[in-house]
Every structure is written in C-alpha cells, then in structure tokens.
C-alpha cells in the first residue's frame, strides 16, 4: 500500500479518491466541470510549488502540473494552459506521482555474483559495464554490443545512446521498443509522403465532422483525446465510427460500432477506395496535381524465420490500373471476407466521399501491430489522398502514438538501427552530417543497418550479440514469443545490463541492474503524437544512487575513451545535448524551438519557423516550408504523395481445427504497458489487479465458462491459464479472445507469435491462433 508523503495522509488519500472519481466522470461525461472543486480537492500549503511537465505515460502528451512540497512530489493536476488536454487528466496521469514512491524502488546498483544480486557502488557498476563492452568488442566485434531503449527515453537519453553506439563505437545495434508499436506508422509515412509523423495536429479534432477509429480503443488508451471527441459531439453533433475487431468502451460511446474479422481491414480500406472512385467522389484536381500511383511486391512473407530479409520494389502504375485492381474489392466481395455489411462499408465511404464533411481517421496499435502494418497505413492515406482530405484543419489522417516520446526520441532522434537524427545510415550525406555534429570520423558510422528489435533478440539467442543494455523498457514482458528470448538472455556468454526504477522480469535476466532516475527526478524532453516537444525540469532528487539514463550513458562513454564527444557538464548537460541535437533539424522542415521557448511554453509543435509552430504541414496556407501553391508533399522529390496499390493478404497464423480461436492482446486504461509502475499505484492496482481472458458471451455459454473460471489458452508456442472475463470490460467477437499484457504474473507473450510486417519489422500482437479450454 502506498505510504503518503504528506503529514495528513488520510486527507491526501481522500483527495486522490476524489480525483479518481472526477477522472471517471470526465471520461463518461465529456465537458463535465469540477474545475474549482478540483483545485479545492488538492493539497494546499504554503510550501506547495506547482511545476509543469508532460505526463510520463501515453503518447497524447498531456500537460500536467506537479505539486512539490518539501522535496517530494505530492499531487498532480491537469495544466489548464496545455492545448493538449486543457486541464484534463486521465486516471493514470492523476496518480502518476505515486509511481515514484513504491516501496521497492531500486536505489543501489546490483551486480549478479554467483547467481545472487549484490549491492555495489555506481562507480563499480559503470566500470564493470564499460569493461564488459570493451571485452565483448575485442572478442566478438563491435556488432556484438547493443542497446535496446524506449519510446519512454527522453530526447537526451536517446540522443546520447545513438551518438555513443552509432557515432563512437560504430555499430548500428541501436533499437527501441517503439519498433513494437510505431514502426509501421513510420514506414507508412515514409512510403506515402517521404517524411515521418502526422501532417496535422490535435486541433483537427475541433474542426472534423466525422471521426473514424481504425482498430483504436481510444476511450481506454487515449482517454483525454477521446474526451475531446465526445466534447465535440456534445457541441456540434459530430459522428464517431468505431471500426474494430472487439466491442470496447470506445464502441459503446460511438455512434456506430462496426466489427470486422481480423486482418480484413486491408480489404475494407480498399473497398472504401473502390466506392470513392465508383461514385465519382475522387478529388480529381488534387489527385492530378499532388499524387502518384505505385504498386509494390506482394506475398511478402511474415518474418518468422531468423535473418528474414525483404526489400520492396516500388513500381509506378496508372490511375486506371489502380482502378482495375480495386475491382476485387467491391463492398459485396469484401463483406463476405470481413463480416462487415455492404451497408456499413458504403456508410463509411460516403462520409469520406462527402466533400462537405471534414474527416479524421485515427489509429494506433490495431493498424500498426499488423503483419501488413505499413500497407494499412498506406491504405488509410489512400482514402484521404483520393478525396483530397488531408493537411488542412479537420481533414486529417492521424496516427496516434503509444508512448510519451516514441515520436520525440525514437522517430526524431532516430534510435532505430537504420536511422540517424537526420536521415538514415544508408545515406552518405546523412552520415557526413552526423559525423560532423558528433565530432567523429565519418567512417565510424556504418552504412549498413544491423538488427531490428525481433532480430536483435534472435541475434542474442544465436550468440551474434553478446552484450545488451536495456533502458526504460521491459522486454521480458513485452517481446512476442517471449520464452525464446528469455531463454536467450540467460544463455552462457551473454551480458545484460538493465536500467530501471523497479524490479521487473527484465531485471531478473540482468547481470548488472542500474537504478534509474524517473521522470521529474531528472531534466528532459518528450515529443508527443502531434510533433509537440515538451520540456520538464528536475523537480525532486532521485532516491539513493539512482541516476538518469542520459548520465549513465555519458559515464560509460567517458570510460570507453570518448571524453571528447561526451564533453557535457553535469550541471548543464541537458541544455548542451539539446542544443547539439537541434543542429540536425535546422530549417523550415523540422526546425525545433530553442530551449528557452520550451521552458516557457506547454510544448511547441515542430517545424518551429520564425517563432511560430507549423500546425499543418504540406499545405502552403500553414507551412512555410512549401515551395508551391496549394499542397507540396516535400518529403518526395517531385512534391507528390503516393497512393499505393496494396492487396489483402491473410495473417501469418489463422485459426484452424486445432487452434480455432483468434488471440488478440492489448492494454487497459488503468495500467501503463507492462504495469511495472501502475501496478505500484494502489488505486490502479486495486481497480485492475490481474490479467484475464475476455471471451465472447456465446462462446463462454457454449463452453460453460463464467467470469472467474480458469481457462487454458494453448498456441503452438505454449499455454497459459487465466481467469475468464465474460460480459465485463470488453466483448470479443465470436471465436476470438482478448488478453491484456500488463500483468507479469500472466505472461501472455509466452504464447504470442513473433511474425512481423516485412517492411516495418513491427510484430503483430493482435493475431494468432489459439485453443481455449475450461480447466
């Protein structure tokens, strides 16, 4: 149980209980006001100092105010000045500071000796890490050392990791868990537009008439943004359409819930395009001026085998060829495949096609964690490009992120094997830019990407990688087909370093555990889903010897002999790193706000040009980087976006006689990802204490399964027993089950499949075949 840091503990708990209720009310009744009460409900004392920060949890990037008293964080409230959340907070945000004070915080470095963890000093731990890295490089080569980070890394964390590994050591073994959640969004943007990240911003919500949610349970995963949608509905009668494989809180709050058979979203998107063309809803002038048509390879595989390689071969096609291709996707044909009625396909198409309706498409893991994730991103852009509904207020295909800095750190700093802070390692010019800013010989930066995340863990298993440093993430809960990778990490001759704030299944496989400073215990920046960079200062001291991930990396870099490149001073290193990093993004296409501006504002959207944020990119009305009238998709050499011909292809593993159900995994509102923080917040833990398997009520009835009964799930990878949930939080479609992954006591990823999108290399956590039995 959480121990309050306030003298009046009971009164604090009462206030937190009140805040929980306010948050629940805000989700159910958008626009509900308790503003004065909220203020009154928070601890007040002369010593309380409110400081601004972005929330530490999801990718929405809500602005919060953290109340500091006597060196402790004691309360959180939504920042009314933040244009993201306008003073609202979700249940995780309100309770976020409690996650700092769990009883089992890691405060001392631990080294595994004879199978037991022994406390040591930070100096000794860092010395050991540096010497192990040197030894590994000497014995096995530089590509035997690796770092696996996170979309929860701050911008400086990711920047110094990339500089150390890619620039100094000379290996591209840098990956981050955003590969597991956002890689398909990146490759979708790159293939359609040549530039990553959404063209629009959250303000689109205030202008759109229709919202189509593609496999996106926003009510639980992005609750504050979803409340903005509901708020618009109460003011302007907008329509919300939930297109999903499972009935969720989002479905229940939507105007229309449309359930489809897993994987058939590919066909549905094509059917919408078919209808748009058939009914003459194409914005011909927009398409002629601003779009090209391409097709790529088909039957592209699923990445199930080690060292899987794939390279697409784009080929230009004509509009007529594309039109002909879509004849396979009439609503009638797609209805049979997807289970969605012809009427519902036409209903969605009619909104996209109506020139008088502004429309937003929103998606997150449903589309991205997909063996054809890149294709799905392309297909949603196709719909918006065909109708010209893009890059203007309210007309916005909007890919939401899951983590607070998946965009800011992983995508913008470029902590993926092929990326650099500007551009990619394969490009000589981009390597030269990096080498100059990093002050390293250009030959240091390898032109070849090495391992994406799944392959990195496979390489650890094979012994190609011998040293792995894991920061701010919990792969021993989140990797698909987990057992293989857990066994790999425990093999002889592997050395694993884990930096974290609490013990987790990932610290269990570590040779060295470094206690990390959490969120406001250090200074940093995050970048959210709408290209907004947000700064936070250090507000409190980290416990014991806990140290920021940034400084841990700098200390090791110095021990490896890179003092010249890691010249930063302790007192000013975040400012020095940010100033160095922003050199990569100078100019109108990605200019970033100076630190002093970030310190004042509740975040700034890039490109930041002449003192102003660019809210809508590629549209000459709003984007100073455009060089022609109307629209300029300047990520592509000819300024034209690409409409991709992408077919329906089945999932890697589909239900059959032996494994007759679909298994889908995901998150719940109460818990952040693997639960290592939120399961230490008593109110959240109590609200959602353990994982479960959701069954369709008819399936449950047939198998005589009731809520709470034990159910065995078996896939080709293994089995797990979970309590059943019937007619509770979510309702899967018949012959489908859903399991949340937050609970380390029920590791559902032991039985998931490590298939991935061959273009993005992002795994599909939403689809594999499973057998269900009552125990």
């Amino acid at each position: 149980m959480y121990t309050s840091v306030l003298t009046d503990r009971r009164s604090f708990i009462k206030k937190m209980a009140m805040l929980s209720a306010m948050t629940a009310a805000a989700t159910m009744f958008p626009g509900i006001l308790f503003a004065e009460e909220q203020e009154r409900g928070l601890p007040k004392s002369k010593g309380l100092d409110w400081k601004k920060a972005p929330c530490r949890f999801c990718g929405v990037g809500c602005g919060v105010l953290v109340g500091i008293e006597n060196g402790k964080a004691v309360a959180v409230k939504g920042d009314p000045r933040s244009p993201v959340n306008k003073g609202l907070c979700c249940v995780k945000g309100y309770h976020s500071v409690i996650a700092i004070y769990g009883k089992d915080r890691l405060t001392k470095p631990l080294i595994k000796k004879n199978g037991k963890y022994v406390e040591t000093s930070m100096k000794e731990a860092l010395d050991l890490i540096a010497s192990k890295m040197k030894e590994t490089i000497k014995d096995h080569g530089k590509d035997a050392v690796s770092i696996y980070g996170s979309g929860q890394w701050t911008i400086p964390d990711g920047y110094v990791a990339s500089k150390l590994f890619k620039g100094c050591i000379g290996t591209n073994n840098v990956e981050a868990n955003a590969r597991l959640c956002m890689a398909s969004a990146v490759t979708g943007f790159m293939t359609s537009f040549g530039m990553d990240e959404p063209m629009g911003c959250y303000e689109d919500i205030d202008y759109a008439d229709v919202f189509v949610l593609w496999g996106n349970n926003m009510a639980e995963m992005h609750p504050v943004l979803f409340s903005r949608l509901l708020d618009q509905r109460s003011k302007r009668n907008v329509k919300i359409i939930d297109l999903a494989t499972r009935t969720t809180r989002t479905s229940k709050a939507s105007d229309r819930s449309i359930i489809f058979e897993p994987q058939t979203d590919l066909a549905i998107a094509n059917a919408i395009c078919y209808e748009i063309i058939k009914n003459g809803w194409v914005n011909k002038s927009f398409v002629e001026k601003h779009c090209n048509f391409n097709k790529g390879l088909t039957n592209i595989g699923y990445g199930l085998e080690d060292k899987f390689k794939f390279k697409d071969k784009p080929q230009k096609i004509s509009f007529d060829a594309y039109k002909k291709f879509l004849e396979d996707y009439t609503p009638e044909k797609v209805s049979k495949l997807s289970g969605v009625s012809v009427r519902d396909i036409k209903y969605m198409a009619s909104y996209y096609g109506d020139p008088n309706k502004k429309i937003m498409s929103l998606w997150c893991m449903g589309i991205n964690q997909h063996t054809r994730g890149t294709w799905m991103n392309n297909l949603v852009y196709n719909i918006h490009l065909l109708t010209g509904k893009i890059s203007e207020p309210g007309n916005s295909p909007f890919s939401l992120t899951g983590q607070p800095s998946a965009c800011g750190t992983v995508r913008e700093v470029g902590t993926l094997t092929h990326k650099l802070p500007y551009g990619v390692v394969m490009n000589k010019k981009h390597r030269e830019i990096a080498a100059k800013i990093w002050d390293v010989p250009v030959e240091n930066i390898s032109p070849k990407p090495t391992y994406h995340t799944v392959e990195m863990f496979r390489a650890l298993d094979r012994g190609d990688i011998r040293f792995m440093w894991i920061q701010v993430t919990n792969p021993m809960v989140t990797m698909p087909k987990l057992k293989r990778y857990r066994d790999a990490a425990k093999k002889e001759g592997r050395f694993i370093v884990v930096s974290d704030i609490y013990p987790t299944p990932t610290t269990d496989i570590a040779d060295v555990i470094l206690p990390a400073a959490m969120w406001i215990e250090r200074e940093g920046m995050y970048g959210n889903s709408e290209r907004r960079t947000q700064y936070f200062e250090q507000m409190i001291e980290p416990p014991g010897e806990a140290m920021s991930d940034t400084w841990q990396l700098i200390e090791v870099a110095k021990r490896l002999g890179y003092e010249k490149q890691f010249y930063y001073k302790k007192e000013t290193h975040i400012e020095e790193i940010y100033n160095e990093y922003t050199k990569f993004h100078k100019g109108k296409k990605h200019g970033m706000a100076p630190l002093e501006v970030l310190k004042k504002e509740s975040g700034v959207i890039w490109p930041y040009v002449d003192g102003k944020s660019t809210q809508w990119r590629f549209n000459a009305k709003y984007d100073p980087a455009t060089t022609k009238e109307g629209f300029d998709f300047y990520g592509k050499p000819d300024g034209k976006a690409i409409i991709w011909q992408r077919p329906y292809e089945p999932a890697a593993e589909e239900p059959d006689n032996e494994y007759p159900y679909w298994l889908n995994t995901g998150r719940v509102i109460e818990h952040w990802h693997s639960g290592s923080m939120t399961r230490r917040i008593p109110v959240l833990h109590k609200a959602m204490p353990f994982a479960y398997v959701e069954l369709n009520p008819e399936d449950a009835k047939r198998m005589k399964i009731k809520t709470g009964d034990k159910v065995k799930l078996t896939t080709r990878r293994g089995n797990i027993v979970l309590p059943a949930s019937v007619n509770e939080r979510g309702i899967p479609a018949p012959m489908q089950v859903f399991v949340p992954f937050f609970d380390e006591n029920f590791l559902i990823n032991d039985i998931t499949l490590d298939s991935f999108c061959p273009i993005s290399k992002e795994p599909d956590y939403k689809k594999c075949a499973v057998k269900i039995e009552k125990v």
Partner: protein, 75 residues
Amino acid sequence: MSIKSYLAHPYQGKKNELIKALSSIKQCEVVPAKNKNLLILITDTKDNLEEDSIKEKIEAIESLKLLAMVSGFNT
C-alpha cells in the same frame, strides 16, 4: 478504515435533493458537477460495519438513481 469514491447519478430534477440528503450523512462528502446531472461522493468510514451501514443509508435515498464505485483505499 476505508475511503471510497463514487459517481452518484440523481433522478432527473432531483440533483439538489440528492446533494442535501448525502450532505446530511456525516461520513459523506459531496462534490456536484457544475454542468451535468452527476455528483461525486466520497465516503470515509472507520470499519466495515460502519461502511455497510452508510451504504445502506445511501442506497435508500429516493432521489438516487445509481451509485457506481470508482476507487477505494484501505487506510
């Protein structure tokens, strides 16, 4: 010793009546929404017996349509 928070939904037009009824119970604290037909209720009780008795009293209030618990802390 437990603290619980609830969403209390009044019958249409009975919001003030519900505020008054809940406020008269010593262990209850009420926070009405400004612009919606909803109240937040916090109960602070010393033991299970008192909690059960308060819950019974609350559920007997005629202006109360629905009571939904949001969070609970054992202190």
